[in-house]
Amino acid sequence: MTALSLKRIYQDKLNTVVMIMALTLVITTPLIIFASLYTKSSMLFASDHSLWDLLFSSAWEPTKGKFGFLPFIISSIEITILSVIIAAPICFLVAIHLTQYAKHWFVKIMYPVTDILAGIPSVVYGVWGILVVVPLVSDVIAPFFGIQTTGYTLLTGAIVLSIMIIPFILNILIEILNTVPFELTEAGLSLGSTRWQVIKHIILKKAKPGIISAFGLGIARAFGETIAVLMVAGNVIKIPDGLFSASYPLPALIANNYGEMMSIPLYDSALMFGALILFVTIFLFNLVSRIVIYRLERSL
């Protein structure tokens, strides 16, 4: 065997080893995160906190050892749902317009624009929220409903969050709609459909699993978003009682408090438990939407 071919064999072996290591790292990272979050938060269970109480009690009094996560969980769910409700129709219509109707040059401009919007750091959205959306809510929207507020509300958080996830969802939607073969459009048109019928009956149907996944990923993204929401949502610990009530989503709780008040017993375990809730929810959410997608794809 020549030295050269030996070298090649070694290179091959080395490559394989490195690749397997990288792969293992990628696969095990979530497991490691889950394991460490679980270990840390299990101290809560060891000291007589039931899972039920943690999830469904709204008494959050760390100094008395009471850790009821319900206000944070409800805040997170409400702010996420609301932001997706705001973002969904906008994303949907813009994606349809850009992929089906828009002029070539306009599409060419819009693609990089959405990329840039998707890449803006979330703290910038937060600042923008304080400058624009907070006064909008406190001076215009709330008074319209006869309500007085500081502007730091559930609705404010949801609006800022929806603006953040629009480019994110839009990018995925556009990609998905573009994967629908053009032949289907041609087939639909030559059967006498109008352009809109083709979109409604054929393209959206074909793309349905992908559309669901786009919104699923958007929801996961919104659920975990931290800094921008933290800056505008009010952060008052209570179950929000309306759009104009302050709210305190889970990620904000963790970001605001970790590293502080650590002298309180079990406080860090409680925050870890909060992180565990986030992690598991987002994980399950991805999993479930993948399964839905898989089922739908097979049934088409």
Partner: protein, 252 residues
Amino acid sequence: MNQSKIEVKDLNLSIGNQHILKNINCKIPSRKITVILGSSGCGKSTLLKSMNRLTDLYPKVKISGDILLNNQGIFGKEVEVTDLRKKMGLMSQRPAPLPMSIFDNVAYGLRISGRKKKLQMKLRVEYYLKVVNLWDEVKDRLKAPASSLSIGQQQRLCLARGLAVDPELILADEPTSALDPLSSQVIEKKFMELKDSFTIVWVTHTLRQAKRMADHVIFMYLGEIIEQGPAEEFFNNPQHEITKNFLNGSFN
């Protein structure tokens, strides 16, 4: 009385600054198979798709000249483009089954043109699936997704779907190029039967298939029509040098 179903007059088509169809003049005779023959990229599909105005969808497209269907221009303002397209069934290179069941694929065209009676719909779907010899293979699984069929079956389904809207013409863009030889044969045979009731335009780049099927040939080269005429004359007595080269295989 004019015997041609379609007449193309001085058609020029360009996309951006690319001139794709150059001074096309041709006639498509009624109830015959007209084969558009030519090597890859010469503009066959573009010519075919300009007949039902699918070329409208191309970005930056410019079209001049005219195409007459039954002696009436298809580009006129008064032309309802959905009606125009419904008169021409389209088959594409790869079968494009709609993302719905086998039954719904055939029923789709009927539904959007407003036919809704259930029983009648069933009968019609059955009828057209029989026309393309697919009925026996699918009658027990009409609710199954069309994508579960083999490629050859899908292509026959696409034919049934196109026939169900009762077109006058069938535009077939190399419909056998993705199929195995046996499935291709089935499709070819079917078209030979259909030509008594339909005007057929069949695009291909294979000479042997053209010889098997053509009543009338349009031969294209680099966006131009080089020669056209009845199949017999075209194959036995080609006039043009390029045609001769193509026919005896020394073509590049």
